[in-house]
């Protein structure tokens, strides 16, 4: 779905009139975040620690976490989730760097291309998942095209790209969705402060690769890193794409967590929540790192 915003530089901020006034302005938003989000996580933690009075469990223990961590399927899911999130993020980041450079030099002013380029940002995950099925499934458009070109003889000769062990369909869908976000984050930096330094590099007779390696890359690194971390966090916990495009075993962690949570056996519910908290912890860590990167870069930028 829609992607998260970047932190803003505060050019015109003033000192607050009174702390109470600021708190009053922030109160509704903070109430929602602390009560619903914080409360939801806290209640989840309590339940995953075994406090489920409805099922006759009232003492706290690490038993459910222990059971999750003793489950080899959990680690298979965790490994698969890391592999798919990391791979899709890295592929998307590489494409984004190239796309941002090209946008900067080539298509800066074409509004139509800019609009088309941004389309994946708002397209719901579910829609791109459905489209990927129609495109890459054994009877999908790609297989039809290849057979019409005489490259494959039948649908069975088409490689498995959806519900496959390597998650090809999942990777394709995520990369499609993520590239515009990372590109826009890089582009913001490139357009703000890339040109002069590159001119200096050119005057000093730095070659293309040298300019990229020693000027462009360091300039974009903080935002590239932050954007990639954000995208990683998002893919690590998103549900629709792996649910529709993933194989039945092993599943990506969000699917595993939901399956456990919705199991008819009420006792596996706390295990689902525990897995959900593991996802939350990984995603939160990535977000905190991303914010750290952005804030460090902002401070360094302010010092220059």
């Amino acid at each position: 779905m829609t992607q998260p915003p970047a932190a803003f530089s505060d050019a015109r901020t003033r000192a607050a009139p009174r702390p109470a006034a600021v708190i009053r302005l922030l109160a509704p938003a903070l109430a929602v975040v602390l009560l619903l989000f914080g409360g939801g996580l806290a209640l989840g933690l309590v339940q995953s620690l075994g406090h489920l009075p409805a099922a006759g469990m009232s003492s706290l223990s690490l038993e459910h976490f222990a059971r999750v961590f003793a489950d080899p399927d959990f680690f298979k899911s965790l490994g698969l989730t890391f592999y798919l999130s990391l791979t899709s993020t890295l592929i998307a980041a590489a494409i984004s760097v190239a796309a941002a450079l090209m946008f900067n030099t080539l298509a800066g002013r074409s509004r139509a291309i800019q609009f088309i380029f941004q389309m994946p940002l708002t397209v719901p995950h579910l829609v791109i998942a459905v489209a990927t099925v129609f495109m890459l499934a054994p009877s999908g458009l790609l297989a039809r095209a290849l057979q019409n070109l005489g490259l494959i003889s039948s649908a069975t000769a088409f490689p498995l790209l959806v519900n496959d062990p390597w998650g090809a369909g999942i990777l394709a869908a995520y990369v499609w969705k993520e590239v515009p976000f990372i590109t826009l984050m890089i582009l913001a930096v490139l357009q703000a402060n890339g040109a002069e330094l590159l001119d200096v590099g050119r005057t000093l007779k730095a070659g293309r690769w040298q300019r990229f390696r020693h000027i462009t890359l360091p300039t974009i690194f903080p935002s590239l890193g932050a954007a990639s971390l954000i995208v990683f966090a998002y893919t690590f916990g998103a549900f629709e794409i792996p649910y529709l495009l993933g194989q039945t075993y092993p599943m990506m962690l969000p699917v595993w967590a939901y399956k456990a949570y919705s199991d008819v056996d009420l006792l596996s519910r706390p295990e689902g929540i525990a897995a959900g908290l593991v996802i939350a912890a990984v995603a939160a860590t990535a977000v905190v790192l991303a914010q750290g990167l952005t804030q460090a870069a902002r401070r360094r930028g302010a010092a220059l």
Binding site: F8, L25, P28, G40, L43, S110, A131, M135, A280
Partner: protein, 261 residues
Amino acid sequence: MKRLLFGSAVAGAVLLPFVPLGLWAFSLRWYYPDLLPEQWGLRAWAYVFGTAGTQLTEALVQSVMVAAVTAILSVAGGVPAGRALGLYHFRGKDLLSMVLMLPILVPPLCVAMGLHLWLLRMGLAATFGGVVLIHLTACLPYAVFVMWGVFSNYNLEFEDQARSLGASSIKVVFQVMIPLTFPGIVVAALFSFLLSWSQYLSTLIIGGGKIITLPILLFALMGSGDRPVAAAVSIVFVIPALAALAVSARYLGSRRMLGVW
């Protein structure tokens, strides 16, 4: 030449996935390995708005209602918070920005699972209100960030002037602040709407099969294997997403778009 090549590569890569959606939605018969449907037709659309009309229209209305209420509440909370963040310096702002970003990025899955039992106890599970509440956890912080960006380019002096001319606080809010930040408010509302519109899992967990939104119906359709209908519903589902993008591109211009993301 290079520019044209790059433009077509972008257009191709982005638009390609929509090709099979469009073909399926207007196909009547389309067997493997035909590249194009053997017979074209509007059966899927007739089904969507006719035969299964009530079910689909209900889901459509439900989706719009949930997303609209979520968007209104998100903007209501997002405008004041964005004002505080955009206009004032105060201690703990970096921490606060992190706290507000977490609900956008930490998947709603675990929050929904955690809240479910308690919403159940309060009689809010499987209700409209419960689903709005769970959507708010992500949508409201999102609106805060949009409004933060809007208010960091906001000039407080207009309000000072209005006040010095004797305008009351309420008048300042409605006749100065809201008109000046209106494009930003529209974008914040649109994107909160969209974020809620796209929610699947949190609706499923909290709505418990009682609150059927469009994505929930679409998942069921994918399970049933009726590709033309699933494609048609996908197209309906994607329209607000593209509309939101178009409006925000128009209101904010592409440079300002960056601040939104």
